[in-house]
């Protein structure tokens, strides 16, 4: 039966050429859509590893003071005391500018036993863990016992630990040519956006001498804190340190902003492809319908010599599916090149899943488009059809 159908299509390859190329192009478009969808969903499903609600990021802007290190350091300590005394403030930590969902990046190379990777470097304080609600996987977080050590101590995220150490235990090992000691591993922070996979990152402790370089503070406030309090806090900070362009942002707002960078292009892309697919579906439907009308005589004859109406509609559906299969074989050949040639830096599983969904989608589309014309063909009365002939 199947062989017979293939033969039928092959004999009419010239007539079906356009239909095959149309389904082929649709398959490639759908493949792109599902690749995007699967990739973004996989990233979305990764646990975020921290709690951004009720955390504010304070950008101190440009400090309007002399470049004298000590005086700036004193200013930072003063500011810390002022903020800590507010009842609404639960915890605060100075940090480097690359706080979660910010536009800043700070990467550096690190290595262990010949493996070298680039990592995001986050400079944080002891209370950072409390501010963001991080979960420790092994080892310990920073504490005052790290003060004045000869070798600096660092904490890795899971991703960085995996890449550097694999299954090995990382605690107590020296990385970056023996200059820093790993004391802990924390769960990955999905801190770029909900749709970005976590990157390898390391966390270093801000020593008291370096605090003057930090112009970012993360503040965890009590739930339900109002804009009125924010205004009060803004004034307090601004009058403690003289700076321009002081800015307070909520991490949840910053996250929404970052998510938009993925969501808006995706929505536009989906709307456009959605219409394209409706367009194609209508086209396929029309062509199949027309073809069936053209073959009334043939169908009438088949019915007359005893084919049941369901056999007729199955045949037409089968033909449409065989045409789709032709396109999908060619399309899959192209689609498979993506993981093989590593065109984009995406995991192979994403491509394979996307290809699977795209094939399923195309078959479904073709079945839907062929169903009605098939039913119409089945309703042809042999007598009427043959009489016309």
């Amino acid at each position: 039966m199947l062989k017979h159908l293939f033969k039928l299509i092959w004999n009419k390859k010239k007539e079906n050429f356009l239909l095959i190329s149309e389904i082929l192009i649709s398959f490639m478009v759908i493949f792109a859509v599902f690749t995007l969808l699967v990739y973004n969903y996989q990233n979305y499903a990764v646990p975020k590893g921290f709690e951004e609600e009720n955390v504010w990021s304070v950008d101190l802007g440009e400090l309007n003071v002399s470049k004298n290190k000590d005086s700036v350091g004193v200013l930072h300590e003063n500011l810390r005391n002022v903020l800590k005394n507010l009842p609404e403030v639960k915890a605060i930590s100075y940090a480097s500018a690359n706080v979660p969902f910010s536009n800043s990046m700070f990467t550096s190379g690190t290595g262990y036993k010949g493996i070298r990777i680039n990592v995001d470097v986050n400079r944080v304080e002891d209370d950072y863990k409390q501010v963001l609600g991080l979960s420790l996987l092994s080892g310990r977080w920073f504490s005052p016992e790290d003060n004045g050590l000869a070798k600096s101590t660092v904490i890795l995220n899971e991703e960085a630990k995996e890449r550097l150490f694999g299954k090995e235990d990382a605690i107590g090992k020296m990385i970056s040519d023996g200059s820093s000691k790993v004391i802990g591993v924390i769960q990955n922070l999905k801190d770029k956006s909900d749709f970005k996979a976590p990157m390898p990152a390391i966390y270093t402790r801000i020593d008291t001498g370096k605090i003057n370089q930090m112009n970012q503070i993360l503040v965890r406030v009590a739930p339900g804190t109002t804009a009125a309090f924010e205004g009060k806090m803004y004034k307090m900070i601004a009058s403690t340190i003289k700076s321009t362009n002081l800015e307070i942002k909520h991490l949840s707002d910053m996250k929404a902003e970052k998510n938009k960078e993925t969501i808006i292009p995706m929505i536009i892309f989906f709307i456009v492809t959605g219409f394209l697919i409706i367009n194609v579906a209508l086209g396929i439907f029309g062509v199949l319908w027309y073809n069936i009308n053209k073959r009334r005589a043939e169908i009438g004859l088949r019915r007359a010599i005893g084919a049941t109406s369901s056999a007729v509609s199955t045949q037409l559906l089968g033909e449409a599916l065989v045409i789709a299969t032709f396109s999908l074989i060619i399309g899959s050949f192209f689609a498979v090149q993506f993981p093989l040639m590593k065109v984009f830096d995406l995991p192979t599983s994403v491509y394979l899943l996307a290809q699977f969904f795209a094939i399923l989608f195309i078959y479904l589309l073709v079945v839907i488009c062929a169903l009605y014309p098939g039913k119409q063909a089945a309703a042809i009365y042999p007598a009427v059809a043959l009489h016309e002939e």
Binding site: L18, L19, S21, E22, I25, S26, V29, G61, E62, N64, T226, A227, A228, E230, G231, Y234, K235, A238, S239, S243, T244, N245, L246, E247, I248, K249, I264, V272, F275, L276, I278, N279, V280, L282, G283, G286, V287, W289, Y290, N291, K294
Partner: protein, 413 residues
């Protein structure tokens, strides 16, 4: 003859309403997308309020310092020192506007939080960019010199800060814990005017980062306004000559690169630029490739439908051929019919595009977006219609002209 073709085309369209619907749906939707895209590119690139002189402007947005071993690169906007001591002395530009990168801060009027953008500007900024002053005027030379605490604000900020309909002129506005006097209110610049859009404009003398230092990297951008568009290459050349005189003695900063680019180039260089090449050609190549791929699917679809429709008319074709119509005449007739269909779809697309654009403009997705369908956009769309109609019409017409008279007449009875 064309009148006849037209009559036949309309008759054919009426005959199979379903096919007509599919064709028109495909064409109008495709053209809607193209028109919205064109008007988007239009609003991004062509001169718009307040940047009306864009045709004769060049933008210097960053400097790049590299070590001679090429293993160290640093880039950023320009320092005030570089602008003031070197660029300001250029001869060819008619005017040289300077403004800082847009930076953001908060204001808290009446316990409400506002996020406001601000930038520091010089006097020429107000001449190069033609802001419409709803109230007041820009700061004077005297005010700039004395570093008076005065600001020009956008209409939107005025409404948000002081309330709708309240005159902001002469009032005080507070941010960065300092109070500034509002001396002017301008019509808000749309966010699509990438460099000059802001909520607050201050005299650059209030910027603390302008004092001292000979570092080249800072937070300032420069817009050079030429006397005419012909002067742009001269200006670019003068800027390259000027860079040779700028000292950069530090280690690892032996090579200095910076370019005075047109508006589009200043973006493409950032993403696609390599060395001296601005990446503009590459940008157009990528854009046309995307449009081609986007057009491919609807075109093949339309072709497919056209083939079906034309074969349906095989008896008509057979009769005309039998009476001596040449293949060429038939192909011509079919192409004209197809073009009529496409133009009809294009007209529908135009209305759909207008609706989409007015939705986009009012959605607030991009602040103060002002997409328009103007003459140029319509012309481009008309061109797209023609290309689309020809592309989808040629293959079916060719198939039709190959029809054998006898089979054509016999097939349909």
């Amino acid at each position: 003859m064309f009148k006849n073709y037209f009559k036949i085309a309309i008759a054919v369209l009426k005959r199979r309403k379903f096919f007509t619907f599919i064709s028109l749906f495909g064409i109008s939707f495709t053209l809607t997308i193209l028109m919205v895209l064109t008007s988007f590119i239009e609003v991004m690139l062509s001169p718009n309020y307040p940047d009306v002189n864009r045709d004769r402007e060049l933008f210097i947005t960053r400097v790049e310092l590299r070590s001679s071993k090429e293993d160290y690169t640093m880039m950023g906007a320009l320092n005030f020192y570089l602008v003031n001591n070197f660029i300001a002395k250029m001869k060819t530009p008619e005017k040289i506007a300077m403004h800082s990168n847009r930076s953001t801060t908060n204001a808290y009027p009446n316990n409400k939080k506002l996020s406001v953008d601000l930038m520091y500007t010089n006097l020429a900024f107000w001449e190069v960019y033609q802001f419409k002053f709803l109230m007041g005027k820009p700061f004077s030379e005297q005010q700039l010199k004395n570093a008076e605490q005065v600001v020009v604000i956008s209409e939107d900020l005025g409404n948000n800060y002081f309330g709708e309909g309240v005159s902001a002129l002469g009032k005080e506005i507070e941010f960065n814990n300092l109070r500034y006097k509002v001396i002017g209110v301008v019509k808000t610049a749309p966010a699509t005017v990438f460099y000059a859009a802001s909520d607050i404009y201050l005299p650059y003398t209030l910027d603390v980062s302008t004092s001292g230092g000979t570092s080249l990297m800072g937070s300032y951008l420069v817009t050079l306004l030429a006397k005419s568009a012909d002067d742009l290459p001269v200006m670019q050349e003068e800027y390259q000559q000027l860079l040779k005189r700028v000292p950069h003695p530090e280690e690892n900063e032996e090579l200095l690169f910076s370019y005075a680019d047109t508006y589009l180039e200043s973006f493409t260089r950032y993403v696609l630029g390599k060395g001296v090449a601005s990446g503009r050609d590459q940008f157009f190549l990528i854009l046309s490739a995307v449009i081609f791929v986007f057009l491919l699917l609807p075109t093949v679809n339309l072709m497919n439908i056209n083939v079906s429709r034309i074969m349906e008319r095989s008896s008509e074709i057979g009769v005309r051929k039998a009476f001596g119509a040449s293949s060429r005449t038939l192909v011509g007739q079919f192409l004209v019919e197809n073009l009529i269909l496409t133009l009809l779809g294009g007209l529908m697309g135009l209305f759909m595009a207008m609706a989409t654009i007015s939705i986009l403009n009012s959605s607030g997705l991009i602040a103060n977006l002002d997409l328009k369908i103007n003459f140029i956009v319509v012309c481009y769309s008309l061109l797209a219609c023609l290309v689309f109609g020809l592309m989808s019409g040629v293959y079916p017409a060719w198939r039709m002209s190959k029809l054998n008279v006898v089979t054509a007449l016999k097939a349909n009875n």
